[in-house]
Protein backbone atom coordinates (compact mmCIF):
# COMPACT_ATOMS: atom_id res chain seq x y z
CA UNK A 1 0.00 0.00 0.00
CA UNK A 2 2.87 2.36 0.68
CA UNK A 3 5.07 0.97 -2.05
CA UNK A 4 6.41 2.69 -5.12
CA UNK A 5 4.68 0.68 -7.84
CA UNK A 6 4.36 1.97 -11.37
CA UNK A 7 1.20 2.66 -13.28
CA UNK A 8 -2.18 4.09 -12.40
CA UNK A 9 -3.61 1.06 -10.60
CA UNK A 10 -6.53 0.98 -13.00
CA UNK A 11 -7.63 4.48 -11.99
CA UNK A 12 -7.40 7.39 -14.41
CA UNK A 13 -4.36 9.48 -13.48
CA UNK A 14 -3.95 7.29 -10.40
CA UNK A 15 -0.20 7.65 -10.21
CA UNK A 16 -0.39 11.44 -10.46
CA UNK A 17 -3.01 11.60 -7.72
CA UNK A 18 -0.89 9.43 -5.43
CA UNK A 19 2.04 11.76 -6.07
CA UNK A 20 -0.23 14.70 -5.22
CA UNK A 21 -1.26 13.14 -1.90
CA UNK A 22 2.33 12.21 -1.09
CA UNK A 23 3.62 15.70 -1.87
CA UNK A 24 0.81 17.29 0.16
CA UNK A 25 1.75 15.25 3.20
CA UNK A 26 5.41 16.29 3.02
CA UNK A 27 4.20 19.82 3.91
CA UNK A 28 6.96 21.01 1.56
CA UNK A 29 5.66 23.53 -0.95
CA UNK A 30 8.72 23.00 -3.15
CA UNK A 31 7.66 19.36 -3.60
CA UNK A 32 3.97 20.07 -3.88
CA UNK A 33 3.99 22.99 -6.34
CA UNK A 34 5.08 21.08 -9.46
CA UNK A 35 2.67 18.22 -8.77
CA UNK A 36 -0.14 20.70 -8.21
CA UNK A 37 0.59 22.28 -11.59
CA UNK A 38 0.59 18.87 -13.21
CA UNK A 39 -2.79 17.99 -11.70
CA UNK A 40 -4.24 21.27 -12.99
CA UNK A 41 -2.69 20.83 -16.43
CA UNK A 42 -3.76 17.20 -16.91
CA UNK A 43 -7.04 16.97 -14.98
CA UNK A 44 -8.20 20.60 -14.96
CA UNK A 45 -8.70 23.34 -12.40
CA UNK A 46 -11.91 21.92 -10.96
CA UNK A 47 -10.23 18.56 -10.41
CA UNK A 48 -7.39 20.29 -8.59
CA UNK A 49 -9.87 21.97 -6.25
CA UNK A 50 -11.62 18.69 -5.53
CA UNK A 51 -8.36 16.78 -5.06
CA UNK A 52 -7.10 19.43 -2.66
CA UNK A 53 -10.39 19.31 -0.76
CA UNK A 54 -10.28 15.51 -0.37
CA UNK A 55 -6.70 15.22 0.89
CA UNK A 56 -7.33 18.01 3.38
CA UNK A 57 -10.59 16.46 4.61
CA UNK A 58 -8.81 13.19 5.34
CA UNK A 59 -6.11 14.93 7.33
CA UNK A 60 -8.90 15.90 9.71
CA UNK A 61 -10.86 12.65 9.52
CA UNK A 62 -7.82 10.50 10.33
CA UNK A 63 -7.06 12.55 13.42
CA UNK A 64 -10.64 12.50 14.69
CA UNK A 65 -10.67 8.71 14.35
CA UNK A 66 -7.29 8.25 16.05
CA UNK A 67 -7.86 10.70 18.90
CA UNK A 68 -11.26 9.30 19.90
CA UNK A 69 -10.22 5.65 19.84
CA UNK A 70 -13.14 4.58 17.70
CA UNK A 71 -13.37 0.99 16.51
CA UNK A 72 -14.15 0.02 12.96
CA UNK A 73 -17.89 -0.07 12.33
CA UNK A 74 -19.16 -3.57 13.10
CA UNK A 75 -20.55 -4.15 9.62
CA UNK A 76 -17.17 -3.37 8.07
CA UNK A 77 -15.00 -5.71 10.14
CA UNK A 78 -15.65 -8.97 8.31
CA UNK A 79 -15.86 -7.66 4.73
CA UNK A 80 -12.56 -5.79 5.07
CA UNK A 81 -10.61 -8.39 7.07
CA UNK A 82 -8.79 -9.94 4.11
CA UNK A 83 -7.98 -6.65 2.49
CA UNK A 84 -6.71 -5.16 5.72
CA UNK A 85 -4.40 -8.11 6.25
CA UNK A 86 -3.17 -8.01 2.67
CA UNK A 87 -2.42 -4.30 2.84
CA UNK A 88 -0.78 -4.44 6.26
CA UNK A 89 -3.28 -2.03 7.80
CA UNK A 90 -3.56 -4.21 10.90
CA UNK A 91 0.10 -3.50 11.55
CA UNK A 92 -0.51 0.22 12.06
CA UNK A 93 -0.14 1.33 15.67
CA UNK A 94 -3.67 2.76 15.57
CA UNK A 95 -5.05 -0.70 14.74
CA UNK A 96 -4.85 -1.49 18.45
CA UNK A 97 -7.92 0.73 18.83
CA UNK A 98 -9.78 0.09 15.61
CA UNK A 99 -9.81 -3.73 15.69
CA UNK A 100 -11.96 -3.85 18.81
CA UNK A 101 -15.59 -4.82 18.08
Amino acid sequence: MLGKGDGDGGIAHGRLLVRFADAFLTRDEAELAPVRREVADRLGDEALVDSAAVVAAYEGLDRVADSMGIPIDAERIEPTAGLRKQLGVDGFASAANTKRP
Partner: protein, 246 residues
Protein backbone atom coordinates in the same frame (compact mmCIF):
# COMPACT_ATOMS: atom_id res chain seq x y z
CA UNK B 1 -15.47 40.09 11.31
CA UNK B 2 -13.64 39.80 7.99
CA UNK B 3 -15.27 37.26 5.68
CA UNK B 4 -13.18 34.30 4.60
CA UNK B 5 -12.61 34.27 0.86
CA UNK B 6 -10.54 32.62 -1.83
CA UNK B 7 -10.43 35.71 -4.05
CA UNK B 8 -6.65 35.33 -4.15
CA UNK B 9 -6.89 31.87 -5.70
CA UNK B 10 -5.84 31.69 -9.35
CA UNK B 11 -8.29 28.81 -9.67
CA UNK B 12 -12.02 29.22 -8.99
CA UNK B 13 -13.13 27.52 -5.78
CA UNK B 14 -16.59 25.93 -5.56
CA UNK B 15 -19.11 28.25 -3.92
CA UNK B 16 -20.45 25.53 -1.61
CA UNK B 17 -16.93 24.93 -0.33
CA UNK B 18 -16.38 28.65 0.27
CA UNK B 19 -19.68 28.86 2.14
CA UNK B 20 -18.77 25.87 4.29
CA UNK B 21 -15.43 27.43 5.22
CA UNK B 22 -17.16 30.72 6.03
CA UNK B 23 -19.58 28.93 8.36
CA UNK B 24 -16.61 27.15 9.92
CA UNK B 25 -14.75 30.38 10.66
CA UNK B 26 -17.95 31.89 12.09
CA UNK B 27 -18.44 28.89 14.41
CA UNK B 28 -14.77 28.94 15.36
CA UNK B 29 -15.02 32.52 16.60
CA UNK B 30 -18.23 31.97 18.57
CA UNK B 31 -18.47 30.51 22.07
CA UNK B 32 -18.79 26.77 21.76
CA UNK B 33 -20.42 24.22 24.03
CA UNK B 34 -17.64 24.06 26.64
CA UNK B 35 -15.01 26.53 25.39
CA UNK B 36 -15.29 30.26 24.79
CA UNK B 37 -14.45 31.92 21.49
CA UNK B 38 -10.99 33.06 22.57
CA UNK B 39 -10.02 29.52 23.61
CA UNK B 40 -11.37 28.05 20.39
CA UNK B 41 -9.40 30.48 18.22
CA UNK B 42 -6.30 29.87 20.37
CA UNK B 43 -6.70 26.12 19.78
CA UNK B 44 -6.91 26.75 16.03
CA UNK B 45 -3.72 28.81 16.19
CA UNK B 46 -2.01 26.12 18.26
CA UNK B 47 -3.00 23.45 15.74
CA UNK B 48 -1.02 25.42 13.15
CA UNK B 49 1.92 26.00 15.45
CA UNK B 50 2.27 22.28 16.20
CA UNK B 51 3.75 21.55 12.79
CA UNK B 52 6.72 23.81 13.51
CA UNK B 53 7.33 22.42 17.01
CA UNK B 54 10.80 21.00 17.61
CA UNK B 55 9.65 18.75 20.46
CA UNK B 56 6.97 17.24 18.23
CA UNK B 57 9.55 16.68 15.49
CA UNK B 58 11.82 14.83 17.95
CA UNK B 59 8.93 12.76 19.30
CA UNK B 60 7.82 11.80 15.81
CA UNK B 61 11.29 10.43 15.11
CA UNK B 62 11.60 8.58 18.42
CA UNK B 63 10.78 4.90 18.83
CA UNK B 64 8.20 5.93 21.43
CA UNK B 65 6.64 9.40 21.58
CA UNK B 66 6.92 9.22 25.38
CA UNK B 67 10.69 8.78 25.23
CA UNK B 68 11.26 12.47 24.53
CA UNK B 69 10.39 15.12 27.08
CA UNK B 70 10.59 18.88 26.79
CA UNK B 71 8.52 21.96 26.10
CA UNK B 72 6.45 22.59 23.03
CA UNK B 73 7.00 25.58 20.78
CA UNK B 74 3.69 27.23 21.50
CA UNK B 75 1.56 30.29 20.91
CA UNK B 76 0.86 30.28 24.65
CA UNK B 77 -2.40 31.19 26.31
CA UNK B 78 -3.67 27.62 26.78
CA UNK B 79 -3.08 25.10 29.58
CA UNK B 80 -0.02 22.89 29.07
CA UNK B 81 -2.11 19.71 28.95
CA UNK B 82 -4.28 21.14 26.19
CA UNK B 83 -1.25 22.31 24.22
CA UNK B 84 0.34 18.86 24.50
CA UNK B 85 -2.92 17.21 23.42
CA UNK B 86 -3.28 19.43 20.36
CA UNK B 87 0.35 18.96 19.33
CA UNK B 88 0.22 15.17 19.67
CA UNK B 89 -3.04 14.89 17.74
CA UNK B 90 -1.74 17.13 14.98
CA UNK B 91 1.74 15.66 14.56
CA UNK B 92 1.66 12.01 15.67
CA UNK B 93 -1.97 10.83 15.71
CA UNK B 94 -1.39 7.18 14.85
CA UNK B 95 0.54 6.61 18.09
CA UNK B 96 -2.10 7.98 20.43
CA UNK B 97 -3.14 5.28 22.87
CA UNK B 98 -5.94 4.65 25.32
CA UNK B 99 -3.40 4.85 28.14
CA UNK B 100 -2.31 8.30 26.99
CA UNK B 101 -5.94 9.43 26.71
CA UNK B 102 -6.75 8.19 30.21
CA UNK B 103 -3.73 10.06 31.52
CA UNK B 104 -5.01 13.30 30.00
CA UNK B 105 -8.48 12.84 31.48
CA UNK B 106 -7.21 11.64 34.86
CA UNK B 107 -5.02 14.75 35.05
CA UNK B 108 -8.14 16.89 34.95
CA UNK B 109 -9.21 17.62 31.39
CA UNK B 110 -12.96 17.06 31.06
CA UNK B 111 -13.89 14.68 28.24
CA UNK B 112 -16.17 17.34 26.84
CA UNK B 113 -13.31 19.87 26.59
CA UNK B 114 -11.13 17.19 24.96
CA UNK B 115 -13.75 16.45 22.31
CA UNK B 116 -14.47 20.08 21.56
CA UNK B 117 -10.79 21.00 21.37
CA UNK B 118 -10.04 18.20 18.94
CA UNK B 119 -13.09 19.11 16.91
CA UNK B 120 -11.77 22.65 16.59
CA UNK B 121 -8.22 21.52 15.76
CA UNK B 122 -9.26 18.93 13.16
CA UNK B 123 -11.80 21.21 11.51
CA UNK B 124 -9.15 23.92 11.28
CA UNK B 125 -6.70 21.39 9.85
CA UNK B 126 -9.15 20.46 7.09
CA UNK B 127 -9.64 24.10 6.12
CA UNK B 128 -5.92 24.87 6.38
CA UNK B 129 -5.06 21.75 4.43
CA UNK B 130 -7.21 22.90 1.55
CA UNK B 131 -5.39 26.23 1.35
CA UNK B 132 -2.03 24.50 1.57
CA UNK B 133 -2.94 21.93 -1.10
CA UNK B 134 -4.02 24.79 -3.37
CA UNK B 135 -0.79 26.71 -2.79
CA UNK B 136 -2.57 29.52 -0.97
CA UNK B 137 -1.65 31.19 2.33
CA UNK B 138 -3.57 29.97 5.34
CA UNK B 139 -6.67 32.07 5.86
CA UNK B 140 -6.46 34.60 8.71
CA UNK B 141 -8.12 33.21 11.80
CA UNK B 142 -11.24 35.08 12.92
CA UNK B 143 -11.35 37.39 15.90
CA UNK B 144 -13.05 35.61 18.81
CA UNK B 145 -16.55 36.73 19.70
CA UNK B 146 -17.65 37.33 23.29
CA UNK B 147 -20.11 35.15 25.14
CA UNK B 148 -20.39 32.09 27.30
CA UNK B 149 -20.35 28.44 26.23
CA UNK B 150 -23.73 26.71 26.38
CA UNK B 151 -22.39 23.86 28.59
CA UNK B 152 -25.04 21.42 27.43
CA UNK B 153 -24.11 17.73 27.58
CA UNK B 154 -26.35 15.42 25.56
CA UNK B 155 -28.59 13.53 27.97
CA UNK B 156 -28.25 10.38 25.87
CA UNK B 157 -24.44 10.32 25.87
CA UNK B 158 -23.09 7.04 27.19
CA UNK B 159 -19.84 5.14 27.18
CA UNK B 160 -19.46 2.87 24.16
CA UNK B 161 -16.44 1.22 22.60
CA UNK B 162 -14.67 4.53 21.86
CA UNK B 163 -12.45 6.25 24.43
CA UNK B 164 -15.02 9.01 24.87
CA UNK B 165 -18.76 8.63 25.50
CA UNK B 166 -20.92 9.06 22.43
CA UNK B 167 -24.54 9.53 21.45
CA UNK B 168 -26.18 6.69 19.54
CA UNK B 169 -28.69 7.66 16.83
CA UNK B 170 -31.57 6.26 18.92
CA UNK B 171 -30.55 8.51 21.84
CA UNK B 172 -30.57 11.77 19.88
CA UNK B 173 -32.99 14.37 21.27
CA UNK B 174 -34.26 17.68 19.90
CA UNK B 175 -31.20 19.36 21.37
CA UNK B 176 -28.98 17.38 18.99
CA UNK B 177 -30.99 17.95 15.83
CA UNK B 178 -28.84 17.54 12.75
CA UNK B 179 -26.19 15.46 14.51
CA UNK B 180 -26.43 12.53 12.11
CA UNK B 181 -27.66 14.30 8.99
CA UNK B 182 -24.53 13.04 7.24
CA UNK B 183 -24.66 9.45 8.49
CA UNK B 184 -23.96 7.60 11.71
CA UNK B 185 -20.77 5.68 11.12
CA UNK B 186 -18.37 5.50 14.04
CA UNK B 187 -16.32 8.43 12.78
CA UNK B 188 -19.57 10.45 12.74
CA UNK B 189 -20.28 9.36 16.32
CA UNK B 190 -16.73 10.14 17.46
CA UNK B 191 -17.38 13.80 18.27
CA UNK B 192 -21.04 13.35 19.26
CA UNK B 193 -20.41 14.05 22.96
CA UNK B 194 -20.22 17.66 21.75
CA UNK B 195 -22.83 17.68 18.99
CA UNK B 196 -21.91 21.11 17.66
CA UNK B 197 -18.32 19.92 17.20
CA UNK B 198 -19.55 16.98 15.14
CA UNK B 199 -21.96 19.09 13.10
CA UNK B 200 -19.28 21.68 12.38
CA UNK B 201 -16.66 19.12 11.43
CA UNK B 202 -18.95 17.25 9.06
CA UNK B 203 -20.10 20.49 7.47
CA UNK B 204 -16.51 20.80 6.22
CA UNK B 205 -16.10 17.11 5.42
CA UNK B 206 -19.22 16.95 3.27
CA UNK B 207 -18.11 20.03 1.34
CA UNK B 208 -14.61 18.67 0.81
CA UNK B 209 -15.19 14.91 0.42
CA UNK B 210 -18.68 13.88 -0.65
CA UNK B 211 -22.03 15.57 0.01
CA UNK B 212 -23.61 13.15 2.47
CA UNK B 213 -24.47 9.47 2.85
CA UNK B 214 -26.50 9.23 -0.36
CA UNK B 215 -23.43 10.24 -2.33
CA UNK B 216 -21.15 8.05 -0.24
CA UNK B 217 -23.28 4.98 -0.96
CA UNK B 218 -23.64 5.85 -4.64
CA UNK B 219 -20.39 4.41 -5.96
CA UNK B 220 -21.34 5.03 -9.58
CA UNK B 221 -22.47 8.61 -9.11
CA UNK B 222 -20.43 11.63 -10.09
CA UNK B 223 -20.47 14.44 -7.53
CA UNK B 224 -17.10 16.05 -8.10
CA UNK B 225 -14.73 16.88 -10.96
CA UNK B 226 -12.78 13.73 -10.07
CA UNK B 227 -14.56 10.37 -10.08
CA UNK B 228 -15.26 8.16 -7.08
CA UNK B 229 -12.28 5.89 -7.66
CA UNK B 230 -9.98 8.91 -7.78
CA UNK B 231 -11.53 10.31 -4.59
CA UNK B 232 -11.06 7.01 -2.77
CA UNK B 233 -7.49 6.67 -4.04
CA UNK B 234 -6.61 10.08 -2.62
CA UNK B 235 -8.32 9.42 0.71
CA UNK B 236 -6.80 5.95 1.06
CA UNK B 237 -3.32 7.25 0.29
CA UNK B 238 -3.59 10.01 2.89
CA UNK B 239 -4.90 7.58 5.51
CA UNK B 240 -2.22 5.02 4.72
CA UNK B 241 0.60 7.52 5.11
CA UNK B 242 -1.03 8.82 8.27
CA UNK B 243 -1.17 5.16 9.41
CA UNK B 244 -4.82 5.54 10.30
CA UNK B 245 -6.23 2.03 10.59
CA UNK B 246 -9.85 3.18 10.89
Amino acid sequence: MATLSYDDSPVAVRQDLIESHRRTWRRLAEPGTWLDGATRVAIAAESRRAFDCDLCRQRKQALSPNAVQGRHDTQGGLPDALIDTIHRVMTDPSRLSHGWFKGVIDAGMPETDYVEAIGVACTTLAVDGFARAMGLPLRDLPEPLPGEPTRRRPVGAKQGPAWVPWVLPEDVTEDETGLYDHGATNVCKALSLVPQAAIGFFDVVTAQYLPGMTAIRDFGGRYRAINRAQIELLSARVSAINQCAY
